[in-house]
């Protein structure tokens, strides 16, 4: 593990030793035509990969790219064993000397993330390693006759046959396989390039260019190797150039990240000035991250969500292969989030450095954006209000206004005028008085007023709130309907009072004209009887008999009156019994359904009088043959319905009976409806809320 954590400690010396061994083998080789060139090239190529790989490995230990570069470098060194004059190293060099090509393919396919991102790539890398092992194996087993100059190669320990035909066949086969594998890898790289985002392309560009060219040249090399000539040499030189370029370009990429970090820091401090707007901060970050599509979102504490630079609500998108979110926090609390190209994750140092530097600016901007979000919310709130709104100076000049429905404006010109220009002088004075009071006291003021508008009087409520040292906000709401309802309620109350007075007057008159007169008569008759008691007992008896009859009549009249004041049966035995009593007294059949629930006393009384008055009306006017009464509870309401099969055509406003009923029902917040189509009976329906 130590070697993995500190790859230099092991692989640095190992590369030096292996390189030294290669140099020794090459310089002493009796079958190397150009030992100096081979030594220089071998060391240059291998150590380039090893050094670049170790730098990458150290910088990003979790990324396998550096490790694979080291592997390619050592693979190249293994190939140097073929320079040995001894059979075993020579054979081993031949057998394992091509594995670096597979490692190279592997390297290209994991770059830059460090791991294979598809199953196809996994199988392709497997095929590359298999080919890099088996192709040399078969080449050693069925080797050609003369492969080394100036001396023969050392003994090939794996040789099976030097049959020319077998050699040609296996060479053709493995060349085809190798070319296919390389072509597939090339195609994969091209595909990924096409799909890459601009930021990813920026990272891929140098390594892919050299790597893909190397794959192409390797393929060509495999094909032309059997046919030695100028072309072969050209290909080899080009291949060495592109192949060797890969570690340098890789290093350039790493260095580029470092430079980008510095440039990014500079960009942040240059692009994000002290008094930058949130939009400028976003632009600065885009510049620094070299991602023109990056978006900044600020955490909005009050709303518990993110907002964009305009202060609008912003939902963070889920991470995808192309776009990811980096959240910035301070003291475990969210500050902001940057939605950016996923490729920037391949440059973590860049991202970390830049976001770290930007965090301070973002923390500051978060407050500004919060204010903007709040202002946005208030603006939305104000716009959603159906009321008229005016900003007016202390001196009565209109500054601005908001009229969701311009038809509501009393006078369509507003800004530039004064309240005295637009409104009746008395009202204008009241408005200014209320507005100044709101400014001076710092508390809202409310006035109510009327305006003649389109030939009708409309009622308004004006609310005044200070909106600055010298201006106030006037919010106007039309309350005509509310006033109408209020007046209706007051009228209803007055009618209830009048009805009560009228009922008492009627009661007094009934008592006076009825029972009282009878009692007076009884009193007079008793006095007469008393006078006749001795001289004319027969007359006295007659008078007493008359008095008894009068008393019985008076009693009956008193009972009737008492029933009119409040039905005793309702108090004593409840609504059901009281309705039964009403039905029994009615001169036509009455069917009663319900009540199906217990009603509060006030509603019971109202229900009783609705049925009583309706039955009286049926008897008087409806010419009905039957009546159906229903009392029920439904959805928190008591429903009372009296329906007859009479002639209909009843006028709900006729007489005081129904109006009195409507008032009684309204006093309990209920409604009374009368449906009476001509010829189709009358239906009186009261609906009274139970609470």
């Amino acid at each position: 593990m130590t070697s993995l954590r500190r790859p230099w400690l092991f692989f640095g010396p190992a590369a030096l030793i292996a390189g030294g061994l290669d140099v020794a083998l090459t310089l002493t080789s009796n079958h190397e035509e150009n030992p100096a060139l081979a030594t220089s090239l071998g060391l240059f190529v291998s150590w380039s990969f090893v050094v670049a790989g170790l730098i990458g490995w150290s910088r990003r230990p979790g990324n396998h790219t550096g490790m694979l570069m080291v592997a390619v470098g050592f693979g190249v060194l293994v190939g140097g064993l073929t320079e040995a004059n001894y059979s075993l190293p020579y054979t081993l060099g031949g057998l394992f000397g091509s594995l670096f090509i597979a490692a190279f393919v592997h390297l290209l396919l994991v770059y830059p993330g460090g791991s294979l991102i598809s199953r196809y790539a996994f199988w392709l890398v497997g095929a590359a390693y298999a080919t890099a092992f088996f192709a040399p194996l078969f080449d050693l087993m069925f080797a050609s006759r003369h492969t080394c100059k100036p001396h023969d190669c050392p003994d090939n320990l794996l040789l099976v046959s030097r049959d020319h035909g077998a050699n040609v066949a296996q060479t053709a086969f493995w060349t085809a396989v190798a070319v296919l594998v390389l072509a597939a890898a090339f195609k994969l790289l091209v595909g990924r390039w096409h799909r890459a985002t601009p930021a990813l392309r920026r990272i891929l560009r140098p390594v892919y260019l050299a790597g893909a060219l190397s794959l192409l040249l390797l393929s060509v090399g495999f094909i032309v190797t059997p046919f030695s000539g100028v072309g072969n040499v050209v290909v080899e030189i080009a291949l060495i150039a592109t192949f060797t370029a890969v570690p340098f370009l890789f290093l350039t990429g790493l260095l580029g990240t470092t430079l980008a970090r510095t440039a990014g820091m500079r960009a942040i401090f240059r692009e994000i000035p002290e008094r930058a707007t949130a939009g400028e901060v976003e632009e600065g970050l885009r510049e620094a991250l070299r991602d023109p599509t990056a978006k900044v979102a600020y955490w909005y504490d009050e709303g518990g969500h993110y907002v964009d630079v305009e202060g609008n609500r912003f939902e963070l998108p889920p991470d995808t292969r192309r776009r990811v979110v980096t959240r910035l926090e301070y003291a475990d609390a969210p500050v902001a989030a940057i939605v950016h190209d996923a490729a920037l994750r391949e440059e973590p140092e860049l991202l970390e450095t830049i976001t770290g530097a930007a965090r301070i600016a973002l923390e500051r901007d978060k407050l500004l954006v919060e204010v903007r979000a709040r202002a946005e919310r208030y603006r939305a709130l104000l716009q959603a209000m159906p009321d008229l709104m005016f900003r007016i100076t202390r001196n009565g000049a209109y500054l601005s206004y908001n009229a969701p429905n311009p038809q509501d404006l009393y006078w369509h010109d507003v800004v530039g005028l004064t309240v005295w220009d637009r409104l009746p002088p008395e009202l204008a004075d009241r408005i200014i008085e209320a507005g100044r009071a709101a400014i001076d006291r710092g508390t809202p003021e409310v006035i109510e007023y009327t305006l003649s508008f389109d030939g009708e009087t409309r009622h308004y409520e004006g609310r005044f709130a200070p909106s600055g040292d010298h201006e106030f906000l006037m919010i106007v709401r039309e309350i005509t309907e509310r006033k109408r309802q209020q007046e209706e309620v007051e009228a209803s109350r007055a009618r209830i009072l009048a009805a009560g007075d009228e009922a008492r007057r009627k009661l007094e008159r009934n008592l006076h004209d009825g029972a009282q007169q009878r009692l007076v008569s009884v009193s007079l008759s008793l006095r007469l009887a008393q006078n006749h008691l001795r001289d004319d007992p027969g007359e006295a008896e007659k008078l007493l008999e008359g008095s008894r009859h009068e008393l019985a009549q008076a009693l009956e009249e008193l009972r009737e009156l008492a029933r009119g004041i409040h039905p005793a049966v309702l108090t004593d035995r409840g609504l059901e019994a009281a309705l039964d009593a009403l039905a029994a007294r009615a001169p036509l059949p009455v069917e009663i359904v319900g009540p199906d629930c217990q009603l509060p006393p006030a509603i019971e009384a109202a229900a009783y009088y609705v049925v009583s008055e309706s039955l009286a009306n049926v008897t008087k006017y409806a010419h009905a043959s039957s009546v159906k009464v229903r009392v029920a509870c439904s959805n928190g309401n008591a429903l009372v319905e009296v329906a007859d099969d009479g002639i209909g055509g009843a006028d709900p406003l006729r007489g005081s009976g129904l109006r009195g009923l409507a008032d009684r029902v309204a006093s309990l917040s209920g409604k009374l409806a009368v449906e009476s189509p001509r010829g189709a009976g009358t239906r009186v329906r009261a609906q009274i809320p139970l609470k």
Binding site: H512, D513, Q516, Q517, R518, L519, V520, S521, S523, L524, S525, R527, L528, N531, E550
Partner: protein
């Protein structure tokens, strides 16, 4: 009592039962009931026609009330004596009775020839 004997009386009340009872009672006590009227207008006409000595006048009448009738009768050249009556208590009418020009007030339940005579001699 002798002063009231043969005194002619007009009974003005809208309730026939009271008129009948009052007639019986007063006649039994020596008054001569010369007529009855059921409202104020009829009462004024009856007084002009019958010239009664006394009008027993109910306060509550369907057209003119008893006080209005009393006021009009008071303007006649030879006005009859007027005694107001009602099933209500006299106190219910406050000063109206005193200011009406009537001799006094007898509650209907206390009506008797003696009660009327007491008012007439007072």
């Amino acid at each position: 009592m002798a002063e009231t004997m043969d005194m002619t009386v007009l009974i003005v009340d809208d309730h026939p039962s009271f008129r009948a009872s009052a007639r019986t009672l007063l006649e039994a006590e020596g008054y001569e009931v010369v007529g009855e009227a059921e409202n104020g207008i009829a009462a004024l006409a009856a007084v002009r026609r019958l010239h009664p000595d006394l009008v027993l006048l109910d306060v509550q009448l369907p057209d003119l009330d008893g006080f209005q009738v009393a006021a009009r009768l008071g303007k006649l050249a030879d006005p009859p004596a007027i005694v107001l009556t009602s099933s209500r208590d006299g106190a219910d009418y406050g000063r109206c009775i005193k200011e009406s020009g009537a001799r006094g007030f007898v509650p209907k339940a206390d009506l008797s020839g003696a009660a009327i005579a007491a008012l007439l001699v007072a």
